[in-house]
Each structure stands twice: as C-alpha cells, then as structure tokens.
Amino acid sequence: MKIRSTTFNRVLLGVVLAVALVVPLLIRTNQYNLVLVTTVLLYGVLATAWNIIGGMAGQLDLAAFAYLGLGAFTSGTLLIRWNVSPWIGMILGGLVATGFAVLVGFPLFRFKVREVWYALTSSALVEVLKVAFVMWEDVGGPVERYLPYYSFSLYHMRFGTYIPYYYIMLAILVIALVVNYRIGRSKLGFYLRALGEDEDAAEILGVDARACKLKALMIYAFLVGATGAVYACMYGFIHPNFFSGARSTEVAILGIVGGMGITYGPLLAAVILVSAREFLRASLGGQMESLYLVIYSVVLILIALFRPQGIAVMFRDAYRKLLSWITGDEHVLEANTPGI
C-alpha cells in the first residue's frame, strides 16, 4: 500500500501530539520528572517565540527573561494586591512586556542602526531590570514575594501538582508554533526574510524595515510576557532573580542551535539541550550548574562555525530520506516549503 507523504506527515504529527498529551499522565507520581518535562516545554515556548525575532527578523535578542520577568511581575503583583486572575494577568503581562520591547526596539530598529546595538541593549536590559526590581521595594525587593496559595484554584492558576501547568505550557507551545508557521507564510514573513537577505534591496521594494522588526519583536515579547504569568504561578512566587541574563542567553542559544529557518528547530534544541542540562543538574548538583553553560556555549560556537543552519536541518534531511523511502516519493527530498 502506497502511503502519501502528506498523510504520513499528518499521522506523525498526530502521534507526537498524542504522546505529548499523555506523557504527564504516565509519570504523574514522579514530581521531579514532571517539573523536568514542563521546564522543557517552557524553554520550547521561549525558544520558538524567540525564532520570530531571532530567526525571522535576524536580531540577536538576549532579553527573553526580561520580558518573562516583566510578565511574571505584572501578573504576580496584580494577583497579590488586587486578586486579579493570572488568566487575565497573562494578557496584561504580555502587554507590559510588549510595551517595554517597543521602547527598546523603536530607536534601535531605525534604518542603518546596526543590529549589534539591539543585541547589546537587550543583553543589558535583563541585568538592569534585575537591579531595578531589587531597588523597587514596593513591587520587588530582595525577598521572594509569594503568590497566595491554593491547593486547587482554576481562577488563581494554582494547582497541587505540576500536571495542569504542563498542559498550559503545551497549549502555549502549540500557539507559538502555529504563530511561527503562519507568519512564515504571510506578508510579514516574506518581508522579514527579504530584510534578512538584503536590507537595502528589501527597503527599495517597499519593505519598512523598522515596522517589520517591531512587529516581530512585539509578537515575541507578548508571547514571552504571557508565559511569564504562568511561570510565576508555577513557582508560586516572584523575585528579581527571574531577570536572568544567563537564562536569556540560553534561550537565544536554543534558537540558534536549533535552526533559525525551521519552525520546530528551536523546540528540537530545547528538548535535547534542556533535558541534558536538567540531567546534569540532577547528577552533579548545583555546584556544577555553570558546567552546563560551558557546554551550551561550546555547542553554540561549534554550531555557528560548522552547522550554522542549525541541527534541525540535519534532522529534517534525515526525516525526508526516511519519508521518501517509506512513500517511494522522490520529490519529498526537494520540498522547499519555508519554515519546515
């Protein structure tokens, strides 16, 4: 029986989704593993969102946890003070993060301002927000601010177990992937690709470089900010240490190593690298926490030097070979859909 490639793809996608849905139920007694997979999903979300600003718009953003932290603090503070549900906090957190992003991006995306300045600014943004929130005793301060505890409250997004957070993260991940995919096929996606190829030529074809980059940044910041609200609920507190430069760099590394042209690339990198990191942390303990950063940075440099398109491309080529063997369809090998 000849299987068509599109059918096979759909079936595979379905299987992956089904597995993803079932995983937490299989390991539900092991809290540690639950946290692990949820963390993998979290970084999957961040890296996939990052792909919009990094892969598509070509900006090396190092502020993922700046936007996450802003979302977390917005939602968390609203919850603590005025009992605003984090479900609403997600939206507001996303908006606050987006607002900040625009403040930063607006001057820096001007025509002819080199991209490196955005990278530098975003890198510094995280560190500075940390200091600012430590100093802002009213909202932040040096001590954790705990969110009100409930053993199970949908309104407050607090549950006694990690399982619901897993599903929330999964849902956000799916949204992020879909957004990624849709943008890739839209006018914005084409414009961003053109900008990445040659900014002068793109501008002369009517592409407003600044507007496009800002749009990409805003979508990314909103997604990450909204995720921040969930992050706060997962941990049960908010603290200026959320603004972590090292973790923001990790997100960028995942995006680059995964592959900036392929929608699921960053997710793939997240699955591999974050699992490895958590494994290291479990076996070697906190003392060796810097070790995984050493590994991450070496991986990044190696990928940048030898496989700049990222690991997803290798994965995709291998998959295509498999697919053409199964379906007997040679055309699969040359498919040229953007983003897949």
Binding site: G54, G58, Q59, L60, L62, V104, F106, P107, L108, R110, V113, R114, E115, V116, W117, A119, L120, T121, S123, A124, L125, E127, V128, V131, A132, V134, M135, G196, G245, A246, T249, A252, I253, I256, M260, M288, S290, L291, L293, V294, Y296, S297, V298, L300, I301, A304, L305, P308
Partner: protein, 286 residues
C-alpha cells in the same frame, strides 16, 4: 556640595580607565563591525590573571600588565582565529552570536574555577591619597587615570604613525565605502582583536590596585564599555576619553546621590538615551 565634587572627581578618574577599556572595544568594532560581547569578560580575565600573578610571585598589581598584556594579546588573536574568523562569511546574527558564546563560556568557566568569592590583592605600592584643594584623591585612582590616558595616547600614536596601525585605520575607514575593493584584511582583524583585548590587561592591572574581582565583573565592564562606545561613537579617540569621563562621573554621582546599587541603572539609561537621540554618538563619524 563637597560630596558632589568629590564624587565627580572620583568618577572622572574612573572614567579614564573606562575609556581605555572602551578603546579596545572600539578598535575591534571599527575594523570588523563586530562587537566582542566578551570584552568586559576579558577585563575580568585580566583582573584574575593579575590577581594570580600578584599573589603567586608577589608582584605589585601595577606591574602585572607586563605579563598580562602579551597574554591577553595572544588570547585575543587565538579567539579571533578560532572563533570569529570562521563566521565572517555568515549571517550577522551568527557573527555576534559567537562572541556571545565566548562571553558565556568565559563567565561559566570563571565561575567553575574560581567560584563566586571575590579576590583582591594586598595593598599596592601606589596606596594612600593626596589632598588637593580640600578634596581627597586616592593615589591609585589618580595613577590609574594617568596611565590610562597615556596608554590611550600611545594607541593613538600607534594608529597614526606605524604601518600596522595605519592598516587597522584603513580597514575601519574602508568599511562603508569600499565593499567593491574586496581586499582581504583578515590579518588586520586579528591584530585589532589582539590589540583591543590586550588593552584590557592594562586596565585590569590598574583596577586591581584598588578593586577586587569576582565573576560578575564581566557584566559590569561590558555594560560600561558599550555605553561609553555608544556615547562616543566611532572615529574619535579624544571623544572616547571625554565620553568615558562623562559616564564615570555620572555613575559615581548616581551612587553618591541616589543609591549605590543604582550604578548600572544610570549607565543603562545613558546608553538607551544616546541610542534614542543620537545613535551616531557625540563624536562619531558614521
């Protein structure tokens, strides 16, 4: 009022050292259009080297650059050929990303090897302070500023009078205009990277006479040098010195008048403000 002037003085002196650090960054950026994200961490690295040389061989921090300058030069050149040279043909994001990788690597390695504990050297021979017009100036800061200015002057001479120096300047000038020329300037890139990194050794040695080092120094000097670079713009060395002094003074004032923790906030605010209002910098040509 007294405290304000005192603070300004201290800050201005520090600013000269910042300018020296930034000069290294500017050399690299001007020639290669790549900002070395790890530059602040090179400062930190040279401070650590100064510490170990100082404590193992009993050498005063002030003299450590004799060893650390060539050492950092080699580190810079090696880093260039190992990491950066291979990415020159690639997307800009990738080029910046490798220096981010280098930065992450250095920070993580120093954390692993030397832990978070700050290290400091015993008092240098340039200790003590002098009094001018009722203000107290620490000798170590004064000498650091003077040496920094001399070093900056030396680099300026190097760039205008020596052949390799002029090659570096030519490579920076050619950047915008002559992609048509296509001459291979790779060795000037390596030289610029090595020299730019080596300059941090001088600053590092000077800093160790009155400061301590820990793994977070990289973040601090990174932000400072980017801010000074943004303020100064590319192409003017005196402008770099002035910008360094401005940033140093502002940082010092913010710590005195507002909050000691606020130093990075002010530096960042200046950084953002400059990029908003005058991205070319105060003295920049492009």
């Amino acid at each position: 009022m007294d405290t304000v002037v005192q603070s300004l003085l201290n800050g201005a002196l520090m600013g000269c050292v910042y300018a020296l650090i930034t000069l290294g960054l500017s050399l690299i950026f001007g020639v290669m259009n790549v900002v070395n994200f790890a530059h602040g961490d090179f400062v930190m690295l040279s401070m650590y080297f100064a510490f170990f040389i100082g404590s193992m061989w009993g050498v005063d921090a002030v003299f450590t650059p004799v060893v650390t300058f060539p050492l950092l030069f080699i580190v810079g050149v090696v880093a260039y050929y190992l990491i950066i040279d291979g990415t020159l043909r690639q997307k800009y994001v990738t080029q910046i990303a490798v220096t981010v990788g280098l930065m992450t690597f250095l920070r993580a390695i120093t954390q692993l090897m030397w832990k978070a504990q700050p290290r400091a050297l015993p008092y240098s021979l340039i200790q003590g302070s002098i009094h001018i017009a009722g203000y107290n100036i620490m000798l170590s800061r004064l000498i650091s500023a003077v040496v920094s200015i001399l070093a900056i002057g030396g680099v300026s001479l190097f760039l205008s009078k020596t052949w390799p120096g002029r090659a570096i300047r030519a490579a920076s000038d050619d950047l915008d205009a002559a992609s048509l020329v296509g001459v291979n300037y790779r060795w000037t890139y390596a030289l610029a990277f090595g020299l730019g990194s080596a300059l941090t050794a001088i600053a590092g040695g000077l800093l160790m006479t009155f400061q301590q080092v820990d793994p977070t120094m990289g973040v601090r000097f990174g932000l400072l040098s980017w801010c000074v670079l943004a303020l100064a713009g590319l192409g003017s060395i005196p402008g770099l010195l002035i910008s360094g002094i401005i940033v140093g003074a502002a940082e010092s004032l913010s710590m005195t008048l507002w909050d000691p923790r606020a130093r990075s906030l002010i530096v960042y605010l200046i950084f953002i403000l400059v990029l908003w209002v005058r991205p070319r910098g105060l003295f920049g040509r492009k």
